[in-house]
Symmetry: C2
Subunit: 566 residues, 2 copies
């Protein structure tokens, strides 16, 4: 049949197979081919750290359907009617003749394949800093099945004692956990002043404290200068400040770069962030060529600017859109990203959606308000675990711009809820009386994100003035130290306290002990407690009694990221 549409998908990891499968479901007759350079297909690459860490042992699960069938070319042919050619590299696109050239990496043969629609799902490649020693044995990334196999072998064999992770982002952090579980002594190196740059500093610091508490070392604000080696094998890394860290293994996780050579060589538009430019239909600058996954830039739904979000879920969603459009002709649209992310690190979870305060300010959104809220994810009697969250809203529109959460509690639900709210362009006011699923095994009577919105409302209405732990810490170093009022009980104070000159007056005694507060009613007073509800109530008492510069330390001691006396 000459009417049979020929669809070629270059790339077989996440976006590629999704594109091909979706196209097949909408066009039974199309000739659909996947060109995949690697040997494996449809790898659950986000699962690599958990395979390395021993959370499961059967590597085939990473390349199998939930029913246990390996997603190999035979599976694609029989179950999907898709011709998947693995170990085959696409080498050039001839847009004029609508063909691609490809090479069979086993046989060494080359071939030219015609297409009616082409979809580029070429993914991304980990960046390796161009420093001396980068080709030593013992240096790896965690990007491919063979990387995962190698690191798993390292963990199983138990020969390696020390490892350095270069890069404190998502993959670096996940790899840190995986290797630490195998008993390897870990140091994480991050060039920037904090881990997980999708978080604001004070939130990232809480994660860093947790990582340290699990005996992994963390060095921030210091980059890699050189890999050190002997006889071709890694023996250590040297940092930019001269520090040398002995290690037998280095995992490089400083980020990825979209694979756009094929696209660029063919003259397709590539954006400022380095990704292939696509419209909302995932169409490139050539109307017969689409692109999806880690190789593209897409629109940020809040800023409207291009964003680079190499995430497995977006790759799948974009693939679904591209797969429909190559068949139906741009009936589906991908609305963009809000750069949602989450990771597990030991007993902690860190997640984000929308803009951090830092990102908002960088994008020129400066008329914003923030709240930090520390509260358990469930009632204490149900074993509730702490969540520390930070909400960012636009003051003028009261729209939610971003939400971050860290802690041992159910951060996933929080970020999911916030992602939905941001997508729907909801305001703080829309969040004040949400009818959420409440039962003690799942949440407190008022869910964490709702209490965060309540605090935000109180701040926006001027009922409460907040101050972050970081700002308090900074002020305590200067000449005009605020008066610190700890509103907890004596038992709590004995168990744990700042020890920075604070005054303990339990909230229940405050009304009769106002004489212990500064005589100068204009003195800056910072109220806090464990989480800061009592701190807030103390602040209302002081304001009602004439003190004029009263602030609540947001998140209380639970969000204090600095050393404490005890």
């Amino acid at each position: 049949m000459s009417n049979t549409k020929r669809i070629i998908v270059i790339g077989g990891s996440a976006a590629g197979p999704k594109t091909a499968a979706k196209a097949r479901r909408l066009d039974y007759d199309a000739e659909i081919t996947i060109i995949q350079k690697a040997r494996d297909l449809s790898m659950a690459s986000c699962g690599y750290p958990y395979y390395v860490g021993g959370l499961f042992d059967d590597r085939n699960q990473l390349v199998s359907t939930p029913a246990g069938v390996v997603r190999d070319p035979k599976f694609f042919l029989n179950a999907k009617g898709i011709n998947a050619r693995t170990e085959t590299e696409a080498t050039a696109i001839d847009r004029k003749n609508r063909t691609i050239a490809c090479r069979d990496l086993r046989a060494g043969t080359t071939e030219v394949l015609p297409y009616d629609k082409l979809v580029l799902c070429t993914g991304a490649t980990p960046v390796i800093p161009p420093v001396p020693g980068k080709d030593l044995k013992g240096i790896t990334t965690l990007q491919s099945m063979s990387d995962a196999d190698y690191l798993r072998r390292v963990c199983d064999e138990g020969q390696i004692k020390k490892a350095v992770i270069i890069g404190g982002g998502l993959i670096g952090i996940e790899t840190c956990e995986a290797l630490e579980l195998a008993g390897i002594e870990i140091t994480v190196i991050e060039l920037l002043p904090q881990l997980l740059t999708f978080l604001d500093w004070e939130m990232a610091k809480l994660v860093e404290n947790h990582v340290r508490s699990r005996s992994a070392n963390v060095i921030t604000g210091n980059g890699l200068a050189e890999f050190l080696g002997e006889n071709g094998r890694l023996t250590g890394v040297k940092l930019q400040n001269g520090t040398e860290l002995p290690c037998e293994l280095a995992v490089v996780a400083v980020g990825v770069r979209p694979n756009v050579k094929l696209a660029a060589d063919a003259g397709l538009a590539v954006g400022a962030l380095g990704g292939i430019v696509v419209d909302e239909h995932m169409k490139t600058s050539d109307p017969d060529i689409y692109a999806a996954g880690d190789c593209v830039e897409c629109r940020h739904r809040i800023t409207g600017k291009p964003a680079y979000s190499p995430m497995g879920d977006l790759a799948n969603l974009q693939g679904r859109v591209a797969g429909e459009n190559v068949v139906r002709g741009d009936t589906a649209a991908f609305p963009g990203t809000i750069q949602t992310g989450i990771c597990k690190i030991f007993d902690y979870i860190a997640g984000t959606t929308g803009l951090s305060e830092t990102a908002a300010r960088k994008h020129g959104l400066t008329d914003i308000e923030t709240v930090i809220n520390a509260n358990p994810d469930k009632p204490v009697f149900m074993g509730g675990k702490l969540i520390v969250s930070k909400m960012i809203v636009d003051r003028a529109t009261r729209r939610l711009l971003g939400y971050q959460a860290v802690g041992p509690g159910d951060v996933s639900k929080q970020i999911t809820a916030a992602a939905m709210a941001i997508t729907a362009e909801m305001t703080v006011d829309d969040l004040l009386s949400l009818d959420f699923p409440y039962a003690p095994p799942f949440s407190p009577a008022i869910d964490h994100i709702i209490t965060t919105a309540h605090i935000m409302q109180n701040k926006l209405e001027g009922r409460m003035r907040g101050i972050s732990a970081g700002e308090v810490f900074r002020k305590l170093q200067g000449p005009d130290k605020p008066f610190l009022l700890d509103a907890r009980g004596p038992d709590e104070y004995e168990a744990s306290r700042l020890g920075l000159g604070e005054t303990l007056i339990p909230l229940g005694a405050l009304r009769r002990r106002l004489g212990e507060l500064p005589a100068d009613k204009g003195r800056e007073i910072v109220c806090y407690c464990k989480l800061s509800l009592r701190g807030y109530e103390a602040a209302t008492v002081l304001m009602a009694n004439g003190w004029t510069d009263i602030k609540v330390m947001e998140g209380g001691l639970a969000a204090w990221p600095f050393p404490m006396e005890k």
Copy 2:
């Protein structure tokens, strides 16, 4: 100061203390009094089943702050500046003179208290069916601290061997779990044809199957006729069909009735659902009297009609609104309920938000589409657990009307996400490409609710025709049995199957075994697999090959609530 506002709150469980505390934070000088009939204040009553079930042992945790301070009158006075009078019953409201009469239940004295603003948080009372024997010893509800104390004692003492729970709603189900954990043999009786009527029947049946699997007996469609007893003690219950069930304990949980006598006696408007009528400001028909919590009706945000939602979270949220309005004068609004609910029952979770299909049809919303989706909450290699969900949308607007989910998986996150989407009046199309927090410990690459939306889109676009397990079951009883195509693999078929005359053709073999399908291309064929993705792909193959009446059994075998051959 004669300008001091006098605020009286009647009721000290959930809405009352929240109202009082919020009012205090906004008005330092107001004279705020809580009148509470019971001895305890601010009880975490939703936690009673978990105290009974032994999830924690210290009952004081139910009446304590997270910092461990008991919320007694002294706490309210010292920490909040609120005068809480316990064991004091409000007996009448004199609206003309703006006073209430109350009686000290210990001293027996009565008193008249003036108010400027009055807030009724009188709660609700469990309904006890007026059947013979209802005053026998051994019959209880689970409504008060003393009920919780009694049932905990029953569990700890281990004397009682058999118990009957009257009512298969939230509290009945939670109590079932609590008592079963103590080794008591349980039967749950429900007058209606299913447990948990906030779910549609086929979803509730999955919960019922799980309850039975944990050796609790369930009897639906049969109500209580009589309590049987000897010497004043319960010995059994008799059902409406004559069945007698011996038991030493009966817990009545057939629902609650709002406590509105005080309001009704004072001439305040009471609605058709039995609750006090309030506007969005939580104001009753008297501008100086507000009401919040289990004693009020509120607006259903989807239907716009009054709804009765006696939930602890809504009580708190309404109290926050009432507390602000009695101080500021109707600046805050409560937008209404979408009747979200969730409960844990052994290793299963059941949740809902918005309208069930049954409720939608009852409210005249008949142009709707539904989808049932069964999928794990995480990748299989991360130990993903099943969620079976049901989505209901309005065909014309494509708006999400309701979402239910049951199963051992993370139902809480699903229902939270859906509650946010319904609140924001999102459409199916808004859900197709959500940027959610994805990492393997938390979700599959495409989150469950997103795949549900994908299936919904496929149905709305006519790409897929679905059929529920219930409908398949019904058709198999009749003369025109559909042809059943099981698209799983032989191993799966050997392990578990319907055994209802189905034909096994694995999806991967289907394209070459089309000859085994009915020769009559108009024959109704139902395709399925474990979850129904392969069932869907099989359907696309058959449709492309000329069969015209092809349906996919939604949720596959995972959502099949009837007995199976194995």
